[in-house]
Amino acid sequence: MPKTIPVANELTKPFWDAINEKRLVLQHCDDCGKLQYPIRPKCWQCGSEHLGWREVEGKGHILETMVVHDTRVVRRKGDVPFNVSVVSLDEDPTINFLANLPGTPAHEAPQGAAVEILYEEMEPGTFIHDWRIVS
């Protein structure tokens, strides 16, 4: 699946650098202890700007799954229909990610299934994260 390739900025570079090393690191608030994804300048919970980074295990579960049959994202048009699942992180279920579930046919993603992170190489040395169902 030819995903669009994220362009990192100063704020998000540590996250994408870790992804390129096949590690999942999230922001961690030094003040309230909350994990955070997507990456933001401040903690959504307490507003603190004292944010560090914490590596987490890439394990989660499928909350729900949509199936894209038509898309505005031109680079993905050739992929339809494809799954877009919302995956919660086991270490903190309030954190969620999007996933295409490579290997799982459209409309066949079981709600609640366990998933694990995987890393897809989009350009040489540039990776992006996705999630796949674990049996």
Binding site: T4, E64, M66, V68, V73, R75, I95, N100
Partner: protein, 440 residues
């Protein structure tokens, strides 16, 4: 000019009754002609031309002179694509003035409008308050009411429109994503509220039971109501009623969302005149008083907000709007037009406001009952966006017409003294409560 509005937005809890409740009224409205798209040729059908048309019709409806207008408020961004390049990125030329930039074609600023109104023979010569910083009609209506309540203007014209030019809507070209889109576009998640609400809708079905099929009676009824709105898209351009079967066999865009769950972008503008209650008493139309307004702005905790978030946010919204209006609760709300930009989230508002006793998890049973305008539960009598195209204003004009008693075949048979509506999504919106009475 450029004066701030002090008591806006009203986003906090426990603000109590709106301090200007019943002291501001809607005294006129006007809608422009409506097209699916601007054709790129007809200069009398541009977004700007329709904006002027809507303002002139609102002034005419109110019966006052343009010289009496002292406030002007618009949302410049018409939410469509720009004219600068087509949907394949090919540059397009502008035109002779006043269409020598985006202003007037795909946006409309107060500066452009003031010149246009003068050019068209209805100059607004006595403006003392001008604002073009709001982002949606949900925000705009509350801010307009607040400005009049605070004495910034005695007669304030408020304008909102949705633009649509030729080509595919909001395509995302290229191999790279940047900004906030890095967290969604790579997985094919569109910039639309469609998928966020498809996700929450699926959580709703999991929690309460039911499926996408249960939305069919609601969507079919929205089209029915829209076909009774003479200026709406379907009443003018596709004059047929859809059926349950049509809904169940529709083409999916992002399952469970299909074409019939989605509002169709149009080129259209509406304008509303807000006046002080003192001034309204002597005007041509029956005053429709603003009893309260509230706004909401909630950041998502993570990539996607959840059903739990949406229910909490809309519970707060409903509680605050009833409180702002001095209403007891749903027993004081007659006409209710919650937003339907996608069919999958309207039930979130319906259940939060508990209109006609509908509580969390009840919406599908309610939709399966009699929700026709002539029936006992005339839900969303406007037809909303699904019945009229993406105007985002039909919900407001319908309440004005229902409360004036001029809604024609859409006129509900029950008490029609109050109404409420708003825009846009549970995460970010503004809502307003209207009444023929200054106090409930």
């Amino acid at each position: 000019m450029g004066i701030g509005v002090n008591g806006w937005p009203r986003t906090a809890e426990d603000l109590g009754r709106w301090e200007h409740s019943g002291q501001v009224a809607i005294t006129g409205y006007g809608v422009s002609n409506l097209d699916r798209r601007w054709d790129g040729v007809s200069m009398d059908k541009t977004y700007g031309a329709y904006a002027i048309q809507a303002l002139q019709r609102a002034i005419e409806d109110s019966g006052i002179s343009p010289d009496d207008i002292d406030g002007l408020m618009v949302c410049p961004d018409a939410a469509g694509d720009s004219w600068a390049a087509d949907d394949r990125g090919t540059p397009r030329s502008y035109f002779d003035p006043p269409y020598d930039s985006e202003d007037g074609l795909t946006i409309v600023t107060t500066n452009w409008l003031i010149k246009g109104m003068e050019r068209e023979g209805t100059p607004l010569k006595n403006l003392t308050f001008i604002d073009d910083e709001s982002s949606s009609i949900g925000q705009l209506t509350g801010k307009a009411a607040q400005a009049v309540g605070e004495g910034k203007a005695r007669n304030l014209l408020m304008l909102y429109g949705m633009g649509n030019v030729e080509g595919r809507y909001h395509l995302e070209e290229g191999n790279y994503s940047s900004g906030g889109r890095v967290w969604s576009a790579p997985w094919g998640w569109m910039t639309s509220a469609m998928m966020q609400h498809a996700f929450v809708f699926m959580q709703y079905c999991t929690k309460y039971g039911g499926s996408h099929d249960n939305l069919a009676p609601f969507v079919v009824n929205q089209r029915r109501n829209g076909l009774m709105t003479p200026w709406g898209y379907y009443a003018q351009h596709e004059q047929y009623q859809i059926t349950i079967e049509d809904y169940l066999t529709q083409r999916y865009v992002a399952w469970p969302n299909g074409l019939l769950d989605s509002d169709r972008p149009v080129n259209h503008v509406a304008a509303f005149l807000f006046s002080t209650a003192d001034r309204a008493k002597d005007m041509k139309q029956k005053p429709i008083y603003v009893l309260g307004h509230v706004q909401a702005a909630h950041p998502s905790k993570s990539t996607m907000a959840t059903l739990e978030d949406h229910e909490q946010w809309t519970d707060s919204l409903a509680r605050r709007l009833y409180e702002a209006a001095g209403a007891r609760g749903p027993e004081d709300l007659d006409v209710f037009n919650p937003y339907d930009g996608f069919a999958t989230f309207t039930q979130t508002y319906l259940e939060a406001f508990q209109w006609h006793g509908v509580k969390r998890g009840d919406a599908f049973d309610f939709y399966a009952g009699d929700i026709r305008v002539e029936g006992p539960h005339p839900f969303n009598s406007s037809g909303g966006n699904l019945g009229n195209g993406r105007t985002r204003t039909a919900m407001y004009t319908d309440i004005i017409e229902q409360l004036r008693g001029i809604a024609g075949p859409r006129q509900i048979q029950l008490r029609h003294d109050t109404g409420a509506c708003g825009q846009v999504t549970p995460g970010g919106n503004g809502h307003i409560f209207l009444s023929v009475h200054q106090n409930l």
